[in-house]
Symmetry: none
Subunit: 226 residues, 2 copies
């Protein structure tokens, strides 16, 4: 049995929740059913599901509030809202972007499945898009991994962030002070020394491909060549 995809379903109406859960399980999803927003939050933290299906109207914490909390720490996992007809669609529209979708009640199981698959596909596509080519390396930003011909290195968080910013401005000068403010919060002497160290470490990790270089532009910043 292949590892099935984990779904978090939050629906306060017990009958509906149970039907959807069972129906999804016959289609090989693993479903965690929650009956209110707070429970959903706890279960989300514990299970990190691949997709969330959230009723908007729920006790303790509604679907939007929950989504906001989740988005604070997780910009990627897609969320599908279930809304009653009466819910004003402009609120929903605010969320109908960036890995979110919604479905009006009542809905058929077929509709739900189609939308779920659409979201899951998009999310898996994004995986590829999140992989950045740097010369012969491929750099997976969210996974903090740098791969060179199958040879995988793990980057720390700060290394990742720094490399990401360098890669965003590849072949252009990235301002030193800007990066210090963004990653260290302040451009002072000690943070600058710390950044020196990180540049050295990145250079070391990038030297498998000699066509990739981090050049210094004195007094201004760095330039990632690739």
């Amino acid at each position: 049995m292949s590892a099935s995809i984990k779904i978090l379903l939050a629906e306060d109406e017990p009958a509906l929740g149970q039907i959807v859960k069972e129906s999804l399980e016959t289609r090989d999803f693993e479903v965690i059913l929650c009956t209110d927003g707070e429970m959903a939050w706890k279960q989300y933290l514990q299970h990190k599901p691949a997709l969330l299906v959230l009723d908007v109207m729920m006790p303790k914490k509604d679907g939007f509030a929950l989504a906001r909390d989740i988005r604070e720490q997780d910009k990627r996992t897609p969320i599908l809202f279930l809304t009653a007809k009466s819910q004003t669609s402009d609120v929903v529209n605010g969320f109908h972007l960036g890995g979110n979708d919604y479905l009006k009640k009542p809905f058929s199981m077929e509709e739900l499945i189609v939308r779920m698959h659409a979201l899951l596909d998009r999310a898996s596509q994004r995986e590829d898009l999140e992989t950045i080519r740097i010369g012969q390396y491929s750099f997976n930003y969210p996974k903090q991994r740098l791969t060179f011909k199958g040879d995988d290195q793990y980057l720390t968080h700060k290394e990742t962030e720094l490399l990401y910013h360098l890669a965003e401005q590849r072949n252009q000068v990235l301002d030193r002070s800007l990066i210090l403010k963004k990653l260290w919060g302040d451009d002072d002497f000690f943070n600058a020394r710390s950044m020196d160290v990180f540049i050295t470490r990145l250079r070391k990790k990038l030297k498998q491909d000699p066509s990739v270089e981090i050049l210094n532009v004195r007094g201004i910043g760095y330039k990632l060549i690739c």
Copy 2:
């Protein structure tokens, strides 16, 4: 799976924008859709796309104004304008040069794709052109390297910039004061002395090929012979 090419699409008509976006996405482009000029500007700064497709008529900032702003800091990224039939062609023609093109509405997706590829190909060719021949040397501007028969020298940032400007005006006189203002910010006594030093250093690095010379034109500037 190669990282797909990032495109910024600015189109205020939502239906058209969405169709084009989706259509391009099926062709393996990554599309950032913006609905007005200001949003496009912000997204441009953040994503640095490989190509911009801009509707000329847009809220907040029209396509031409946006292009002007972008060209101030970025002379390379190609821009494709989408124009209504009514738009006067002389304005368009002003931009129909230097990495720009335009397409009249209504257009077919095929036309758009063809033009986009034409622009992207031209841009990638230019990448190669970043290696400049100077006599027997090859000078890679972004990599700050000067190669003579496999013998590689590293140039500092200022050396690189100076040589680049000399090479741009090869066999013509490059104005002393102009360079001082451009690279040193001001034409004063001390900066002029500093520039003398850099000219000396460049001459030293260029003397492997005796047919390459930096000649002085007394009181006016320098001329790179090659």
